[in-house]
Subunit: 346 residues, 2 copies
């Protein structure tokens, strides 16, 4: 009723209590819908709180209830790294969707710089700023992940961590996906001398995709040539240079992600090699890039936003005490476009 001017005056429980002529406890209990508060009083307090614009102070609530209503996304990397990759975008879409629906907030915790591997973990782990954490994109040999899981704090890992097999995690069938795309090159197109540009080998994703690649080659598929990149476009280009120099009869390249595949495409093109005419090329991830290139990239679609959704759901359940069975694995799907040699059907 009274026009509130500009000042930031916080409305506390005490204000509502004073207005209603009851105690602070009564207001707190009324708003929490406690059965021992009369329904007429509840009504009155609710409308009064609404009118005064009362919103519970999150710090006080967190302190008392020992719960913040916030979950942290921990990424042991710099912000540049995180938000630069569309993978995280997709993951965030899924996370935010579930968190919003269940009234939780999202705290994003990246690392100030590459050195402080511990900072991102500790900040959340100890300060109780988050009720739980989702860890994405950690290296397989990152001991902090183990520490975090061991600490007893609710944690959901995104991706496989064989070293922490009992942790709650959400991953995708990378081995199968890599195998499928490799077999597509080998069996559907009859290609031999297929090379793989892998990701950094301290990430399980890279390990799995490499394993799938090897499995997909079967035996007698010629030599398996592998060069490691870092998931960045330029490293894909560099790796392609190496491959072309080392391997004369190269017929196909399977890059462990689309960005490296795009780098490969640039290098092949600059050498006058046609894709897929001279060399077939496939990527992995399908986060937008692959749709745009010419030729459109055959790739493996990773359901990253679904991974985010599942991870958030399981973490919130975990926080609420609902037991979670260990690993959950979502299927990836082969998305055939043109760069493998299949006909264009746009």
């Amino acid at each position: 009723m009274s026009g509130r001017p500009g000042g930031v005056k916080a409305v506390t429980l005490a204000d509502v209590a004073a207005a209603a002529g009851v105690s602070v406890s009564a207001v707190s209990m009324a708003l929490a819908d406690h059965p021992r508060i009369g329904s007429r009083t509840k009504q009155q307090i609710h409308s009064l709180a609404e009118e005064l614009g009362y919103v519970s102070n999150s710090a006080a609530r967190s302190l008392r209830s020992q719960r913040s209503g916030t979950i942290a996304l921990i990424v042991p990397n710099t912000g540049q790294h995180v938000f630069g990759h569309p993978y995280f975008m997709q993951l965030l879409v899924g996370l935010s969707e579930v968190l919003n629906a269940r009234g939780a907030s999202l705290l994003v915790s990246t690392n100030p710089d590459e050195r402080h591997g511990v900072v991102a973990y500790e900040r959340v782990l100890r300060s109780k700023a988050g009720d739980g954490a989702i860890v994405a994109s950690a290296a397989v040999d990152d001991v902090n992940v183990l520490r975090l899981v061991d600490s007893g704090l609710p944690v959901v890992l995104v991706g496989h961590y064989p070293a922490i097999a009992d942790a709650v995690s959400v991953a995708v069938t990378d081995v199968e996906g890599a195998r499928a795309v490799t077999e597509h090159l080998r069996l559907s197109h009859g290609l031999k001398n297929i090379a793989h540009i892998s990701g950094p080998m301290n990430h399980q994703t890279s390990i799995d995709r490499l394993a799938g690649f090897r499995a997909g080659l079967g035996r007698g598929a010629g030599k398996a040539l592998v060069v490691a990149g870092d998931f960045g476009e330029e490293s894909g280009r560099q790796a392609t240079r190496e491959l072309l120099d080392k391997q004369p009869g190269l017929q196909a390249i399977f890059a462990a992600n689309d960005e490296m595949a795009y780098g490969a495409l640039l290098e092949l093109r600059s050498r006058g090699l046609r894709v897929p005419g001279d060399i077939a090329l496939v990527g992995y991830d399908d986060f937008g890039v692959s749709r745009l290139t010419t030729p459109a990239l055959t790739t493996v679609s990773v359901p990253a936003s679904e991974v985010g959704r599942r991870a958030a759901t399981r973490l919130l359940d975990l926080i609420e005490g609902i037991a979670q069975v260990g690993q959950e694995t979502l299927p990836v799907t082969l998305t055939v476009r043109e760069s493998c040699g299949c006909p264009n059907d746009t």
Copy 2:
């Protein structure tokens, strides 16, 4: 010294105090480097705190100090919308960089669904979960933005809000950018009958780019044909269909962002029209997409991560009481590639 087992036992100030044999106050003051605490005691407390793994409880600290150390990114849209657009990614890169460097955290506040326009604002505004807010991608007619700014809470707006001219904001020179790219088409390539696919007209960005387009046409540049899209790829394709049907002598299309330009490219291609041979095409934003298409898209590069960096810096300064002059505008740059008709220099 004693191996800590799995349990989540919080180490509080009291624990450190007990171990050091001093009062809680002394520990608090020592860690805050208060001058009235002896340097020897400080040393001892610091190492003891380190050893016990003490981390201050963020809820308690926030409650007492009335400051959360967190800033909120408010986006009056769903998570899907936010993280789906590379613009936000870039913005987040800049934000997280500055926040990390200055010890602040990032709370991402999206909306559960399109209806609840108020939710995202109120949650942060009232609960004191954040010390300040950065508002991005709000509609020009969103009254909640005005309310938020009026509330006295530190707020930095991303983009122009002519209706709230006195607010602290960080924007880019969209009018000039749109004008430059339009003039490039008109003057460098001598094109006439240039059409514009605009964004949704309740966003200032769309308004500014349209204004720049009009300015760039000058007079006597033929008819200015404008069709509105929604910044999505499909709407670009749809708009292009309309344009081609309505306007026989069309020589160039300027899409208000790259994704719509990509949609336009698909439509042009499917009709057998060559770009830039038959029709020149330019976009706006330059967030990755434009580099990948064939032909590579001429566009206007928006320094979104720098916008994020500036917005975060100014917000933190504002929170610390450093007065901020109103609007700040960062320059965009014309990035010439191939789709306008310029030679390929890859």
